[in-house]
Amino acid sequence: MKLDLSFIWTALIQLLSAIPTTLVITAVSVTIGFIIGLITALLRIYRIPILSQIAVGYVTFIRGTPMLTHLLLIYFGLPMLLDALSAQFGWSFKSSSIPMIGFAFISFSITAGAYMAEVIRSGLLAVNRGQLEAAYSVGMTTPQALRRIVFPQALAVSLPNLSNSVIGMLHGSTLVFTVSVVDINAKAQIVASTNWKFFEAYLAAAVIFWGLTLLIERVTAVIEKRINLYNRGGVA
């Protein structure tokens, strides 16, 4: 085998320029996904009539279909819908003005939202009901009780799962090559296409992803330690 070690290094250097794209996609989808997930989880926990059924349907659909189909559906469906709407109402909006990465943001946020919803819901359900009752009994309102008492505890419980979701979205962001956004994966392909050293290029990409994943796991471990301080038990 003629493994070109020096090319792995060259590829690694070139791939560094694509890391921000990957991280931006991950960060945006995780942030918006968290907000969507929180709303969806609250709708389901408080059993708000019609909306909670919609939330169940949303979570079931997204979790039952591959992330790739969400991206493709948004990529092909959204422009169609928007163009039809702007033709109807005479907006000057053109779907072609949406940048490619915008489709990735929208579809990955929707995907992340459904997964986050389940993570957040299980976290909220794990908080003892007595905590909420205690908060009410000292006179807090529901938003106060949620924000000050329930959410911090739920966050601590669901942190490992949240970090798994973040890692999942980081890995999922490789799919953007289908809508021609250049992330680490697509960049590896481009780098290798000049000399056909695909193996070396993907090896470099794998190393970067591995590093990023380990970094996320480390950071989570540190946050987890910090956030679970209250929970150490004992007397001191």
């Binding site: 493994l3 079931t60 992330m67 092909f76 890692i167 890995h171 992803f209």
Partner: protein, 261 residues
């Protein structure tokens, strides 16, 4: 982009896509088999703490959990023939499907080993001790006592894994395997009715994963028979079933089934 939306195409595409469902399920089944074998091979050194193999297994799991499946697909597709050439094995002419199944198998194996490890450690230590006390060998204790109980604990996570694997197979098209996603793309580009093709694709995936979930739920019920004996009479008096230790352990996900693909 493409032709105007026409709902009849969604229905028309369903049978065409269903004809490639076999390929998708073949990938799922094949890699599941590889994954179970690999998962056990990786989990055992870690469970019995065999010195060097233990570390190797950890690196293996970390790598497969730390890199996207898409990268792994390309890596094995381009790399495996080169590596095997060292052993004078020429597989560069092997069908792409083989690479796909091997990659998904190794990928699933990493997650599977974590599940196996977690569920075996969740079986009460006293069970093994009791097995030894009645004179079983360590092999007997493992296969007769630990494994059946561990399996019951593992099933929920296992079912997540299978569904995640099903969804991951949608990436096999990137190597040119004609499974459902690839077929949907071909159909779309033939007729320019992309969105209809992807809607039917999503519908099929949804139905298949819901069916798998139901089937595995039945399997879980069956495996947990021994725990349910006094449940029926208690249920009336409890609003919510108390979470058993088993359930808690089962909900400790191996991390798969997250938002990947």
């Amino acid at each position: 982009m493409g032709a105007p939306f026409d709902i009849t195409y969604v229905i028309g595409y369903l049978p065409k896509l269903l004809s490639t469902l076999g390929m998708t399920l073949l990938i799922v089944g094949g890699s599941l088999l590889v994954g179970i074998v690999v998962g056990f091979l990786i989990a055992l050194p870690r469970l019995y703490r065999i010195p060097v193999l233990n570390t190797l297994a950890r690196v293996y799991v970390s790598f497969f959990r730390g890199t996207p499946i898409l990268i792994q697909l390309f890596l094995f597709y381009y790399g495996l023939p080169e590596i095997l050439k060292l052993a004078h094995l020429d597989i560069s002419r092997a069908p792409v499907l083989v690479f796909v199944i091997i990659t998904y198998g190794l990928h699933t194996g990493a997650f599977m080993s974590e599940t196996i490890r977690a569920s075996v450690s969740a079986v009460d230590r006293g069970q093994v001790e009791a097995a030894y006390a009645v004179g079983m060998t360590s092999y007997q204790a493992f296969t007769r006592i630990v494994l059946p109980q561990a399996m019951a604990i593992a099933v929920p996570v296992f079912s997540n894994l299978i569904i995640a694997l099903l969804k991951d197979t949608s990436l096999a098209f990137s190597l040119g395997v004609m499974e459902m996603t690839g077929k949907a793309q071909t159909l779309g580009s033939l007729t320019q009715h992309f969105i209809e093709a992807y809607i039917s694709l999503a519908l099929i995936y949804l139905v298949v994963s819901l069916t798998l979930e139901k089937l595995l739920f039945v399997a879980e019920r069956r495996l947990l028979r021994h725990e349910q004996s006094d449940d029926a009479e208690h249920r009336r008096f409890r609003l919510q079933r108390k979470n058993s230790y088993r359930r808690m352990v089962a909900s400790i996900d191996s991390g798969k089934g997250g938002a990947e693909a």
